[in-house]
């Protein structure tokens, strides 16, 4: 996508609170209108700071933030026209639900009739039409969440920021709300920047995910690519379940390479950010891509000896913990199908994988 189409753009943005440590280091990010972008990362990675700079509550130490082609560094938050949903919802406790929703319209000097109509529509949109006269304290967490969402949308902003909005909900409600939020965002065509530390949330909701660590974006990609083709070992570790083995690149041959693990055994892998033989690497393999049925592997594929340590029954999948090449936490997952093989603790098996599923990343 070209810069012209960018609706929100961070250009070489840096942020420091104390003048000693950079919380955000050289951030470049642009997203087009209508995109649902998630900033994912562990706490302290700089994602919330980025959100707050976009909202105008923090100022960038260096660099430019653009909204719809205009630099907004010097525009105060209340003139940016950005909707925002907060982690604790920030519903005004002294106002009713309807008053909460009406507030952004009032400060825009909208007429009473128009306000009421918009509030009603926004409440209906989140299926909370009957709750207008309640106080926030009388609502459950999920209901408060819906109101917070409705309030951020009621004045029809083109950009909505959400700061871990589902953090306080239980699992079932959270999943339901994930669906609701994405549905609304797409229906209304709003550009959304969503901050979370929950990777499942990021994967299920977003068009693209920006993985933050150490003040930088480690990878910016759609969810499937992020999961299947992590570009570095941080992303591989952070997204989804992952097995890591350490070793040295023995040889590279185009799209595949051989890695000698620390215990001397050899495996096949796809070189991602290793370039020369002799480099140290961490190889990453997803648990569901590990195969212990030899028939399904290439004849010349490398295999490793493994000892089953534990079997965990999880209903839809079986999960095994194995000891592989000195790693006692090597996980394998298989689908609970009628022909599924059950391994038993103590059993010795040989495991292997397709070279393209095993990514040789930075050490």
């Amino acid at each position: 996508m070209s810069n012209d189409a960018a609706f929100v753009e961070f250009q070489r943005v840096q942020k420091s609170y104390d003048g000693e440590v950079l919380v955000v280091k050289d951030l470049n990010l642009s997203l087009p209108k209508g995109e649902f972008l998630t900033m994912l990362g562990p706490s302290g990675s700089g994602k919330t700071t980025c959100l707050m700079m976009l909202a105008g509550f923090e100022t960038a130490t260096h660099g430019e933030i653009m909204l719809d082609g205009r630099p907004i560094n010097n525009i105060p938050p209340h003139k940016r026209g950005i909707g925002m949903v907060f982690q604790n919802y920030a519903l005004f406790p002294h106002m009713t639900v309807a008053e909460n929703l009406s507030f952004p319209l009032e400060v825009r000097k909208m007429g009473k009739d128009q306000r009421e109509e918009k509030v009603k529509r926004a409440l209906d949109m989140v299926q909370m039409g009957a709750f207008g006269s309640r106080r926030p304290a009388q609502l459950s967490g999920g209901q408060q969440q819906r109101i917070a969402l409705a309030r951020a949308l009621v004045f029809e902003p083109e950009l909505v920021l959400m700061d871990e909005p589902l953090g306080a909900l239980d699992k079932q409600l959270r999943e339901h709300m994930q669906f609701e939020i994405t549905r609304l965002a797409h229906e209304l065509g709003i550009t959304t920047v969503y901050v979370t530390h929950d990777q499942t949330e990021a994967l299920t909701m977003s068009d693209r995910v920006a993985v933050f660590d150490d003040g930088r974006i480690q990878q910016l990609a759609p969810p499937d690519l992020l999961y299947e083709e992590p570009e570095n070992s941080f992303v591989a570790q952070f997204i989804g379940e992952n097995n890591t083995l350490e070793g040295v690149v023995k040889s590279i041959d185009g799209d595949s390479c051989v890695v000698t693990l620390d215990d001397g055994s050899e495996i096949d892998a796809k070189p991602v950010n290793v370039h020369n033989a002799g480099e140290r690497t961490k190889v990453s393999i997803r648990p569901e891509r590990v195969e212990f049925n030899k028939d399904r592997l290439h004849a010349d594929a490398h295999t490793l000896k493994a000892t089953v340590k534990e079997f965990i029954y999880m209903g839809d999948v079986f999960r095994f913990r194995l000891s592989v090449a000195g790693n006692d936490d090597f996980i394998i997952k298989t689908r609970n199908a009628p022909d599924a093989v059950k391994l038993h603790p103590g059993q010795e098996v040989e495991i292997g994988w397709l070279a393209q599923d095993c990514r040789a990343l930075d050490a």
Binding site: A55, H78, I82, G83, M84, A90, F92, R151
Partner: protein
């Protein structure tokens, strides 16, 4: 179990005793222990708070002294028509002399004199003088007494004195309460105090008015400070908090006297203003020994009581509310006025109640810097406690003050809601 059987009798425990009873028994130990734990405080409150207040309430209406000192006279006066304008007959005088002889031997007559002197100035010395003369009289041999007594002290030939005794002979009197609101109990019923003696209603009014002003100025001064305290980084706000609390570590008397040095005409403020040329040397500001002095000193002294509850409430208002409001397009002022301020009201309420109730009963500061127009009702209460010894009136004034505070508290509860008050 069907509805019928439930209605038929109480739920039974396994051993057949009613469930409620067996539950109560199992909880009794726990309750007893809880009671023992609070017992010291309970006793302390009882002896240092409830009993004194009860005794104050009692004292404000108690009037047993007349009947106790003059039992025969009170009975004899019952048949006398005080409105007739005629002196009582010999029976009353006879009873009075007998009562007095007993009272003089027990030295009670002067005490009664001081009591009745509250109602009729001059009666105190009448009793004192009469006591000296009557000492050696014999109730049998010296009768009849009417002329003799009037001869001895001509005050007893004045119908008014007898009317006072009869009017105030009841054991329970509304007299002190009436006096507390500038009324008096006369033989002809309740009447207004002469205008030149009406002072207490005015003092009550002034006390309330000035306490309100003090509360108001405390709110104005404390709000920005509390806001700063609640929003500044911990390190800075802790330092500020120490400055706020500093006055607490200085004696009240010292602080008040310091204000005297500041505010008097040759004081720091006036000297500075004169030096700056803002005020002429012969037109120095009068800012002490009047209401301004009291308001300034008391606002300063009570300020921490406003800041602390405000601060603790403001501290609990998350930043996300103001951020949310701004993200929705509210200006700084709208955000403050519509979002922050309403949520800080519980702190203002708690601080105001605290400051107002403290102010309304203040005594030392108005006494020292209040002059004549800046004193409170409590200064009058103190006068009646320690100087005039009219404890009944002091108790009535105190009771009214208590009632006013409770009334205001009730109003506050109705208007703002007492559960809206937070001390943190």
């Amino acid at each position: 179990m069907t509805d019928a059987s439930q209605n038929a009798g109480p739920m039974l425990a396994a051993d057949g005793t009613p469930l409620k009873q067996s539950l109560a028994r199992s909880l009794r130990r726990q309750k007893l222990r809880a009671l023992l734990l609070i017992a010291p405080l309970l006793l302390f409150v009882l002896f240092s708070f409830i009993i004194p207040i009860a005794s104050m309430l009692f004292r404000s209406v108690e009037n047993g002294i007349v009947e106790k000192t003059l039992p025969l006279t009170v009975v004899a006066l019952e048949t006398w028509d005080e409105k007739s304008g005629e002196l009582p007959d010999e029976a009353v005088y006879d009873a009075f002399v007998r009562d007095m002889i007993v009272a003089v031997s027990e030295k009670k007559h002067t005490r009664l004199g001081s009591r009745l002197n509250y109602e009729e100035p001059g009666i105190s010395s009448l009793f004192r003088k009469t006591g000296r003369k009557i000492r050696k009289w014999d109730p049998e041999a010296d009768a009849p007494f009417k002329e003799k007594l009037i001869d001895a002290e001509k005050g007893w030939g004045d119908v008014e004195n007898w009317r006072v005794i009869k009017t105030h002979s009841r054991n329970v009197t509304p007299g002190y309460f009436l006096a507390a609101v500038d009324l008096r109990l006369t033989p002809d019923g309740v009447a207004a105090q002469p205008e030149e003696k009406q002072i207490l209603v005015k003092l009550f009014g002034r006390t309330l008015f000035m306490s309100l002003i003090i509360t108001g100025s405390c709110i104005l001064l404390a709000y920005p400070v509390s806001y700063l305290l609640a929003t500044l980084p911990m390190r800075v706000s802790n330092l500020l908090m120490i400055l706020v609390l500093l006055p607490f570590w200085t004696s009240l008397l010292v602080r008040t006297s310091a204000w005297k040095v500041m505010l008097q005409q040759q004081g720091v403020i006036n000297e500075t203003l004169v030096w700056l040329g803002l005020v002429a040397d012969d037109a120095r500001l009068v800012i002490i020994n009047n209401q301004i002095g009291t308001i300034v000193a008391m606002t300063h002294i009570l300020l921490p009581f406003m800041i602390l509850p405000m601060y603790s409430v403001m501290q609990t208002i998350p930043q996300s509310y103001t951020r949310a409001a701004k993200s929705m397009g509210a200006t700084n002022w709208t955000t403050f006025w519509r979002i922050y301020f309403p949520q800080s009201i519980p702190g203002i309420g708690a601080g105001s109640i605290l400051v107002f109730i403290l102010a309304i009963g203040y005594y030392i500061t108005p006494e020292i810097v209040g002059g004549t127009k800046g004193v409170f009702i409590s200064n009058r209460i103190a006068y009646h406690i320690s100087s005039s010894l009219n404890w009944g009136l002091a108790a009535a004034l105190g009771t009214i003050l208590l009632a006013v505070v409770m009334l205001l508290y009730w109003c506050y509860d109705k208007i703002v809601g007492i559960d809206n008050v937070k001390l943190g």
